[in-house]
Amino acid sequence: MAKKNNKFHLRDIILLALVGIIFGVIYWAAAFMYNALTIVFTPLKLPMMGNDLTMGLWCMAGPMAGFMLKKPGAPFLGEFLGAAGEALIGDQWGAANLISGAVQGIASELGFTLTGYKHYDWLGAVATTITTTIVTFAWDWFRNGYNKFGFKNVYYFSGRLLSMFFFCGVLVMLIERLLERSHVMKREEFND
């Protein structure tokens, strides 16, 4: 195997931004989900559940980038550049998108850091699921008033963990497996 190259080149950066934006475009097809879930969960006295159950979707680009490039910094860049791209085209959340993108990026990055950037497998996927859940939840604690929810946070936290596990863990691993089998990510030797 060629020596590991941890620098980001122009094509890596374009690829990460593209992946982030592509995921953003696909989520838009699922934007109604948030509203539908909110309507379903409001009578159950859990109106924020829609936010937690769809959260995994928004955090997929990070772990995906990590699995694709297998470089330190890739999960952060994948998540952040995607958010930056969406902010540039005038997505509804605007510049706040950049901040959430940075928070989510750090959150996914942490999972790979904790496993020493060696586990691009189930262990890495589970680690990034857990760190992303904890960090984004802490962020919502301040930003979306979760500090006021009391005991219900148990439901919200579990909902979010479930969502992260499904989207950032299972779905990302399935996509990764397809990419692995098609040998399209073996471009490293051609750089430099």
């Binding site: 080149h9 122009l10 094509r11 950066i13 374009i14 690829l15 931004a17 593209l18 992946v19 982030g20 934006i21 592509i22 995921f23 475009v25 696909i26 989520y27 097809a29 699922a30 948030y34 509203n35 909110t38 409001t42 006295k45 859990l46 109106p47 924020m48 829609g50 936010n51 995906m64 550049l81 930056a84 791209g85 902010a87 540039l88 085209i89 005038g90 997505d91 509804q92 959340w93 605007g94 510049a95 706040a96 998108n97 901040i99 930003r143 979306n144 008033g145 006021k148 009391g150 219900k152 989207f167 779905l171 399935l174 996509i175 497996r177 397809l178 990419l179 098609s182 399209v184 471009r187």
Partner: protein, 217 residues
């Protein structure tokens, strides 16, 4: 105002508003950005869109705090409700007045962001219409073979990523064949000015925001 400084100001506002809980500053910020957008002659339809789009999430947060949280804190519910509109309107104040190209140039020249990040992201942003088309095409192609690709289908993401890999190679090659070399010093034809006025606006706005935030509820 200088695009980078505008972005910086909006980021500072978003961060500050996220970690404080004051209603007045939120309302003032919304009012100021609306006036700013009006002076820039924004289409009325866009205003309607900016009001409607975040309404659902804002109501969800409001209901949760006001009805279903142990404290029934109506003041805090309004703070969170208005906070979402602060994000949306300050964000629009940038995206509706500054083009991605201007912002990228400014980030590179004024804030010294490495050019590969600046132009790499811009290259991807310029492909957005094509990305949208491609996602539609992939799904349509699937349907022609009787396969429905939902938004949680790994195949849909996989096929889209394959396109992204090809595009990123082609775009990087295209940029390099036009003389772009990463990590090299660049000269620029279009200079983005960073004047004393920009510094003044940034500093005065930040000070004003602090005063309003901490003096009023």
């Amino acid at each position: 105002m200088n695009p980078s400084f505008k972005l910086l100001l909006v980021l500072i506002i978003a961060l500050e508003v996220s970690f404080t809980r004051h209603l007045t500053i939120n309302l003032v910020l919304i009012a100021v950005t609306i006036i700013y957008l009006l002076t820039k002659r924004i289409r009325p339809r866009l205003f309607g869109w900016l009001f409607l789009m975040p309404l659902f999430p804002a109501i969800a947060v409001f209901i949760t705090i006001a009805w279903f949280s142990p404290g029934h804190d109506y003041f805090y519910a309004w703070v969170l409700f208005s906070r979402i509109y602060v994000y949306v309107f300050t964000g629009a104040a940038i995206t509706q007045t500054t083009s991605p190209l201007e912002l990228t140039r400014s980030l590179e020249q004024n804030l010294h962001l490495p050019s590969k990040f600046a132009y790499g992201t811009l290259a991807a942003v310029n492909l957005i219409p094509r990305i949208k088309m491609t996602v539609k095409t992939i799904r349509a192609a699937g349907q022609m073979r009787g396969i429905y690709l939902s938004w949680w289908s790994p195949t849909l993401y996989f096929k889209a990523i394959l396109h992204a890999i090809t595009w990123s190679d082609q775009l990087a090659q295209a940029m390099e064949s036009h003389g772009y070399v990463e990590d090299r010093a660049r000269t620029s034809v279009h200079q983005i000015a960073l004047t004393t006025r920009d510094w003044l606006i940034l500093i005065v706005s930040i000070i004003l925001i602090q005063i309003i935030t901490f003096a009023l509820p």
